[in-house]
Symmetry: C2
DNA sequence: CGAGCGCTTGACCGGCGTCAACACCCGTGG
DNA sequence: CCACGGGTGTTGACGCCGGTCAAGCGCTCG
């Protein structure tokens, strides 16, 4: 079960000032002055699903901002099992902890097709002392990562299997269409919730049977939420 | 079950430059210049066990650095159950998230007698832009909070009850005497591990019976670790 | 059409929750 | 000094939820 390291596809150097999602990301508030001080290139990379961005304890020279797609942060437990500690989405920074420590503390794996901006850590460290704007953005990123870690514990890893699955579906709602939730393979869901894949499958079936959700296609990955109140009160 | 708000005891204003644990904390690397720029007082507060430092969603004007003692960060789940999302110890900053958001995202409760330095958030925000030394310390604090949240998920909330209890004991080792681990009430341990207090009690008994740990006093709160290898491999 | 993968479903069993009784420690007050 | 009571921890009996093992289904892709 050695993960296959897939090469990422280099899409060229990007101009952050023209970035389509710039208002969500690290460099959101930077001004001309800040950009002028950048001499290292920011690269645009793509990864296919299941590819590994980096492994635990690896020496780190870059962080990556997610332009689109999702990433799972994974700890490999001694006996070969996989524990998913958090997932990251558009606007999140992958490898944030490496800014402070110089090395990654988890393994990062693409869950979907993934597009990221790769930013040298050295550049972040330079700019964060000279640019209060970046400094503020970084603080926001740290805070939101911590918030999402705490939510992960309180919402997804507490209580019955049924409650966990319900909470995961709620967390995975599409921001643009809040009735639709896109979930993952049953095995990945298990790794997130500390449940076996069969249990996840059973609980999803039960939520469908009870009329709380409904599959919207045959892929078993997208569901419509029919009763959000009952779903959030599942215990 | 309304928590009783205990008044904290004010111990006076402190001089950070003479702090006994200054090398562990937020203001570790500040120089004379930085201290000269401080005009708001840093207060030294004490709390008894079980007292609440602040509650969820409360508006925040201060963070606190722990001089001694421990704090649990708690989410109160809808149906009255208590979920402990993390614990903080000497040198950690309580209420870190409020630096970014202006409000606390958890409830903080003293687990032991507690001594803290109360620092105005405004002061942190001022200094963190002018002092790269504080800025660096803050980054370290964010990183260690995030690391400990991720560890919490991977170590304490994964696998069998026996494994969870074993991991908690390992995490609670005294830094000065690594054979001794100080734990909490069975109910608090349950809140940390997502187990019922009876299960925690049973698993501790089993670890004792199997010769992995041994109680060192009658309080049921301190144990000697007899076989650290076997304890860390418990599955 | 068959192979392979992911998902579902069933039967069975064990681990953990539930409920209850009891032990132990430490105040307080007679 | 002991009696009493409340808080905390332990232990037992029992039942259910979720893990285990296995069979079968449906989709996708050669």
């Amino acid at each position: 079960m050695i993960p296959i390291k897939v090469e990422s596809a280099w899409q060229g150097t990007v101009d952050c000032q023209k970035c389509g999602i710039r208002d969500m990301v690290l460099f959101a508030d930077l001004n001309h002055e800040d950009f002028a001080a950048m001499h290292t290139p920011i690269d645009d990379l793509r990864f296919p699903p299941r590819s590994t961005l980096y492994v635990e304890a690896q020496k780190a020279e870059f962080v990556m901002t997610i332009r689109s797609g999702m990433v799972k942060l994974v700890r490999n437990i001694s006996d070969g099992r996989e524990r998913i500690v958090r997932i990251l989405r558009q606007g999140d920074v992958v490898g944030l902890e490496a800014i402070a420590t110089g090395q990654y503390s988890n393994e990062a794996v693409a869950l979907t097709d993934l597009s990221v901006c790769r930013i040298p850590i050295q550049l972040i460290q330079q700019l964060s002392t000279t640019s209060p704007r970046l400094h503020k953005r970084l603080t926001t990123q740290w805070q939101s990562a911590l918030q999402s870690a705490d939510d992960w514990i309180a919402d997804l890893n507490f209580g019955s299997a049924r409650r966990r699955v319900a909470q995961l579906i709620l967390k995975m709602r599409d921001p643009l269409q809040p009735e639709i939730a896109a979930v993952f393979s049953r095995e990945d869901m298990g790794g997130m919730l500390d449940l076996k894949l069969e249990t996840v499958s059973r609980e999803i079936s039960r939520l469908i049977h009870d009329g709380l959700i409904r599959p919207v296609d045959k892929s078993n990955r997208r569901y419509e939420i029919l009763n959000i109140d009952r779903l959030s009160q599942v215990d």
